[in-house]
């Protein structure tokens, strides 16, 4: 009996320490990634890197200005497509929508969210690149935009659901139409949640590489307008990392650092706003 108690306590301690180790290791990975990128990327980061075009193979120096602008253009396009559709879809799900139909829509949105990003790339390829017969910023924007929709739908819907019913009833009692209630009361009240969701959404697609490989392709020069292939940060990281040149490897680290910093900063800010909100 005595021995058994000791044994059980021992098992208790050993197993819980093991779970603690698991958690620590996982958290450690993030700091490892950050530290390593800072160490490697920080040294090759410079003003030239941010403002110059890539140099031809063999010449050192040069930068990724075109990739940074390219990423920004792609994200702009994707947002222009994904945010309105996602936002309105979310409003519909939360405010209108019958039980059965909205649960079908919700389920589909979740499934769409789980579709591998590379399949999205094929989709954009089939819809835009094949008819146009060349790679373009437009196609890349479409691929990313479609990826944004499901998350935008779900986050908008959830933000709207947290708005108390009483606020809506108050507006309706004052004689506002349903549409007026949503536009002037419910949406402003859920503003913070909606914006947070969208920022997280943009941060997520900003790091996507796979769908861009054969839609926006890549480009070693500036890409004028929306109709040409364009470079983007994630694709640059990829092509530079698998290249055999040391100088390119250094630039891949630097580009990775920029990308990671942007994505993590967006995440931290967005999440802080949310937790500040819920604490109040």
């Amino acid at each position: 009996m005595r021995l058994r108690t000791v044994w059980r306590k021992l098992v208790n301690y050993v197993m819980f320490s093991l779970t603690g180790v698991c958690a620590l290791v996982t958290v450690g990975v993030l700091f490892f990634i950050l530290g390593y990128l800072l160490w490697h990327g920080g040294s090759s980061l410079s003003w030239t890197f941010l403002t110059h075009l890539p140099t031809p193979v063999g010449e050192s120096g040069g930068g990724m200005a075109n990739a940074i602008v390219g990423s920004a253009k792609l994200l702009l396009l994707a947002s222009a497509l994904g945010i309105p559709i996602g936002f309105l879809g979310g409003v519909y799900l939360a405010e209108f929508g019958g039980q059965a139909f909205s649960s079908v829509v919700r389920y589909t949105a979740d499934l769409l969210n789980g579709v591998p990003s590379i399949v999205m790339g094929i989709f954009a390829y089939a819809v835009v690149v094949l008819p146009m017969k060349h790679f373009s910023t437009l196609a890349g924007g479409l691929a990313l935009g479609v990826m944004m929709i499901p998350i935008a739908v779900r986050s908008t819907e959830e933000a709207l659901r947290t708005v108390p019913l009483m606020l809506r009833e108050g507006a309706l009692a004052l004689g506002a139409s349903k549409w007026k209630t949503i536009a002037t009361v419910a949406v402003p009240a859920a503003r913070k949640g909606i914006i947070t969701g969208i920022v997280l959404d943009i941060a997520r697609v900003a790091g996507e590489t796979a769908p861009l490989l054969f839609t926006a392709f890549s480009n070693r020069f500036w890409s004028p307008g929306w109709n040409q292939p364009t470079a983007s940060l994630p694709v640059m990281v990829y092509t530079y990392a698998i290249s055999p040149y040391d100088d390119w490897h250094r630039q891949a680290w630097a580009a990775g650092l920029i990308l990671l910093t942007l994505v993590l900063a967006a995440n931290v800010i967005a999440r802080w706003t949310v937790s500040g909100e819920s604490a109040r």
């Binding site: 698991c22 996982t26 789980g114 591998p116 796979a210 490989l213 054969f214 990308l259 993590l264």
Partner: protein, 282 residues
């Protein structure tokens, strides 16, 4: 939208589907030059790396989730969860970058020789050691999916009513016994769902795997051997594909991948809906 997606994939893969039929899925040769396409090596590579990833990630993830939900004080638990959610937001190219420059050299120099010495009698750990290969692919995937398993499992574990724990403790169980025999079984469906979701992610993950798997369409029993995954072959060969048949064979691979992940995701969502009732959030 989803319907349109399926439609496009289906139409654009008609050519190889008619030419090869179901042999597309079982053919072992991938020879673009002669127009002979079989998808088996890619399906094999995808499944092996994903299985390996889950084998590592599930115990890690569930363990960490138990720690965060049952043991850690709320402050620490919240801080760690925050960090873990950030980890889930790291773009996959970054994982690939670290995979190429840290994991692969490490495996080539230390990891694989060690495995060969200790477990070399298994066919899994034989053959030449390149560093890149299915082992590296599986490891990178494992690191990538752990955050997902943790954050979903933690939420499911937290949803277990406190009374359940109190009852077990009142019966004289130690804290671990109450966790393992009462709380975890209570949350088991949710944990299963988190595993399925991360499986779907692992199957569809492209960049990180492409960068470390070695990209060689062969089936071999050793984990050290370079392999190829469905997503990786699409990423690598799509822009170079010449001829309609080649291109459409790749699109059909995309369709296969799509079908796989949809089925797995669908199952996981149903699990989640049945446990949390509202089924939202995740």
């Amino acid at each position: 939208m989803t319907a349109l997606l399926v439609h496009q994939l289906y139409i654009n893969s008609a050519l190889p589907r008619h030419k090869f039929g179901f042999q597309f899925l079982t053919g072992r040769t991938w020879d673009p030059v002669n127009g002979d396409f079989g998808a088996l090596p890619f399906i094999y590579g995808t499944l092996v790396t994903s299985a390996l990833a889950l084998l590592i990630a599930v115990p890690m993830g569930v363990g960490a989730a138990i720690f965060l939900s049952e043991l850690a004080p709320p402050r620490i638990s919240n801080a760690m969860t925050f960090v873990i959610e950030l980890l889930a937001a790291v773009p996959s190219v970054i994982y690939g970058l670290l995979g190429i420059f840290i994991l692969v050299p490490f495996l080539r120099q230390y990891g694989e020789p060690f495995l060969k010495r200790t477990l070399g009698f298994l066919p899994l750990f034989q053959g030449p050691m390149y560093g890149v290969g299915m082992l590296a692919g599986g490891l990178v995937l494992a690191i990538m999916v752990v955050p997902f398993i943790i954050s979903i499992s933690r939420e499911v574990l937290l949803a277990v009513p406190t009374e359940q724990r109190e009852a077990a403790l009142a019966l004289g169980a130690t804290k671990w016994e109450s966790t393992w025999q009462v709380v975890v079984p209570f949350a088991r469906i949710g944990i299963m769902a988190s595993i399925f979701l991360s499986l779907a992610r692992a199957l569809g993950e492209t960049m990180a795997v492409t960068m470390v798997i070695g990209n060689d369409p062969r089936i071999s029993s050793s984990l050290f051997a370079p392999g190829y995954s469905i997503a990786a072959v699409i990423a690598n060969e799509f822009t170079e594909a010449t001829g309609d048949l080649y291109l459409q064979a790749l699109i059909e691979l995309g369709l296969v991948l799509f079908a796989l992940t949809i089925v797995i995701n669908g199952v996981a969502r149903i699990f989640i809906i049945s446990t949390t009732k509202k089924g939202s959030r995740l």
